[in-house]
């Protein structure tokens, strides 16, 4: 938190664990149950009212319930409600009145409220807003508002605390909320913490959760497919074994039929173990689940995913994607893995370069009967570009040296090529090609 403001600009925040804060901050906070929301916001407003601030609470709770919660915590709330020092607004009517407003208008609204509050002799404007569930289908609009408010209230005598119900937010929505606010409140046992470190931490956790969710989806699909493939021969084995036992217990035993069914048991058990071998092969990337795929879409997804990692290393990612790029037959997840790997390598390669412009460019274009993707960094370069594809080759302190080897086997399983070349100036370009879908070859 910036500490170059005059002391007079600080005010008591009221949230347990956080002492004084400067005016002009826009904070987001996540809760799971309405009780948590009340528990956090009541002391927040109590502190504001105690400091003679004008308070606005936009809440999904009924206004009666919110007023009762405040009344329990401090005396004289009714009088403050009557004279308008404390205002409680129902989130639904708030959402309705904001309908159609642009970002600028929303920001101006809060600045106007501040001016009015100061003119009435209040110390400032303190607000808490929770409309996230009402914007569930219109998240971009809400994020637009939040971004505009962040910019507008800097250096003003406004405190703004936005609450998000994590049960109703998508993981990506939470990430964006963290991005559009200046700070994130996070609960640690009884107390709360708020600083930029917390924000990084939250982002990291969110990203890990996102990745985990993606993996889970593919694993779930995979295990359903495996279960089906294994269950067919297993069902046959079970039925044949039951038949075999019955032939044997006949009087006299029907040995010929028993032998036949026993042979089938052996055959089907083998085919079940073939399935298991095929699954192993899948993990070795020798079999792929391919679909017609526009590589540009995958590049764009990866760029979004890697934005934070890139800006953390002061790297700018540029894309130069050929419009109307023909599609190729590829496994989407594996393509993501390859491109993420190449981009991450590029970012890390520029880690040690100090003074140069850190730029990573991704280019796509048609190259004969192939689609070609170049990932170009301005790092220190490679002495022997072919070495990097060998398993267990690494120049990094951490890492297995398997990334590029796996990337190459994925691309080759797609009947493409992956190679690296030294750039004329600085750095390395990793290139891969994938054959164009046959019916898009003209």
């Amino acid at each position: 938190m910036s500490d170059d403001r005059p002391i007079a600009d600080l005010t008591k925040y009221g949230i347990p664990g956080i002492d004084q804060v400067p005016f002009g901050i826009h904070v987001c906070h996540f809760y799971r149950a309405q009780e948590d929301l009340v528990e956090a916001l009541v002391p927040y407003f109590a502190a504001g009212l105690g400091n003679n601030e004008n308070c606005v609470w936009v809440t999904p709770l009924s206004t009666d319930r919110a007023a009762a919660a405040l009344g329990k915590a401090l005396v004289g709330v009714d009088a403050m409600l009557d004279k308008g020092q404390m205002r409680i607004v129902d989130a639904k009517s708030w959402h309705a009145s904001a309908n159609g407003m642009d970002e600028h208008a929303v920001a101006q609204f809060w600045l106007h409220e501040e001016k009015t509050a100061l003119a009435k002799g209040y110390q400032g404007l303190r607000s808490a807003v929770d409309t996230s569930s009402l914007f569930a289908d219109d998240w971009d609009t809400l994020m637009g508002y939040e971004g505009a408010v962040s910019d507008a209230i800097r250096d003003r005598r406004i405190l703004m605390l936005c609450s998000y119900d994590t049960q109703r937010c998508q993981a990506t929505g939470v990430l964006e909320a963290v991005r559009t606010h200046q700070h994130t409140l996070e609960r640690r046992d009884v107390n709360w913490e708020m600083d930029s470190l917390v924000r990084e931490e939250a982002l990291r956790t969110m990203r890990a959760r996102l990745e985990y969710a993606t993996q889970l989806a593919t694993l779930a699909e995979l295990s359903a497919a495996i279960a089906h493939e294994v269950n067919q021969p297993l069902a046959a084995v079970a039925a044949n074994a039951a038949a075999c036992l019955r032939w044997l217990s006949d009087t006299p035993p029907n040995l010929e039929r028993a032998r036949l069914t026993a042979e089938r048991i052996v055959r089907d058990a083998n085919s079940a173990s073939d399935v298991v071998n095929r699954v192993r092969a899948l993990f070795k990337h020798s079999t792929v689940a391919t679909v017609p795929l526009n590589v540009n879409e995958v590049i764009e997804e990866v760029r979004q995913l890697m934005l934070d990692e890139a800006s953390g290393g002061n790297v700018r990612i540029e894309t130069d994607l050929e419009p109307d790029l023909p599609r190729t037959l590829a496994d989407r997840v594996q393509m993501q893995q390859v491109i993420v790997n190449l981009v991450r390598n590029g970012i890390e390669a520029m880690d040690s370069t100090r003074d140069l412009l850190k730029l990573l460019s991704i280019r796509s274009r048609r190259d004969g009967s192939n689609v070609r993707v170049d990932v170009c960094d301005r790092g220190s370069g490679l002495r022997d570009p072919e070495n990097v594809f060998k398993p267990f080759f690494t120049t990094k302190k951490t890492g297995m040296g398997m990334g590029l080897a796996i990337c190459r086997s994925i691309i080759e399983a797609h009947r493409g090529r992956l190679w690296a070349t030294q750039n004329e100036g600085w750095g390395t370009t990793f290139c891969f090609t994938l054959p164009i879908l046959s019916n898009e070859l003209q």
């Binding site: 269950n231 067919q232 069902a235 084995v237 079970a238 039925a239 032939w247």
Partner: protein
């Protein structure tokens, strides 16, 4: 066509499963026909013997549940569904549409055989009922229009005199019609005729006190 007193249809796209099920049924003395798709099953001529179907839900041409829906209200032998992965919504759907049971592969042989026997018994009983009804219908077809008018009046319990008055004929003529109805319907007694009328959905036309 084989001549047996029952038949089990096995509809599954996996030939290993078809073969194994056929073997299991054969080992317990049951006759079966293995079929690889819903289309084959629909095209297969069905002999008039008690039967049932062991139907895989995941068929290549038509999903087993859709096949069940297509068969719709037309009478159909009992269906035992089997699936590689039993999900609750499809089992609920199948059971609501009248499936006998829903088994998840791999299933126990006792469970399957118990269901097959239950299904065949259910179909046998239904066929017997249907055969009775067919016979009654054939007899009913031999009645003259006047006899068909007399039948509901008689089974309503009207006296001969009342029934005759209702039709505007003499009591003697009515008695002749009534005797013909009893003979053609092969009814031993009035109670027997009332039961037959019930099976044929012929409503009692008149109350005795009307």
């Amino acid at each position: 066509m084989m001549s047996t007193d029952h038949l089990v249809f096995i509809v599954d796209d996996d030939d290993r499963v078809r073969e194994a099920l056929q073997e299991l049924l054969a080992a317990t003395g049951l006759c079966s026909v293995p079929l690889g798709s819903a289309t084959e099953y629909i095209a297969y001529p069905k002999p008039d013997v008690p039967s049932c179907v062991i139907l895989d839900v995941e068929l290549p041409d038509i999903n087993g549940l859709d096949l069940q829906r297509q068969l719709g209200d037309r009478y159909h032998p009992p269906i035992i569904f089997v699936t590689g992965h039993g999900d609750i919504p499809s089992s609920v759907r199948a059971m609501k549409a009248g499936a006998l049971d829903f088994l998840t592969k791999p299933f126990s042989d006792q469970e399957l055989l118990r269901l097959v026997h239950a299904a065949l018994a259910q179909d046998r009983e239904r066929r017997a009922r249907q055969a009775d009804l067919d016979r009654l219908n054939q007899r009913f077809q031999t009645l003259t229009p006047r006899e068909r008018e007399v039948l509901p009046l008689v089974v309503s319990g009207l006296l001969n005199k009342q029934a005759a008055a209702h039709l505007g004929i003499s009591e003697v003529t009515l008695q002749i019609h009534r005797a013909n109805v009893m003979r053609k319907m092969e009814a031993d007694s009035l109670a027997d005729l009332v039961r037959m009328a019930g099976s044929l959905d012929i409503p009692a036309a008149h109350s005795r006190h009307a």
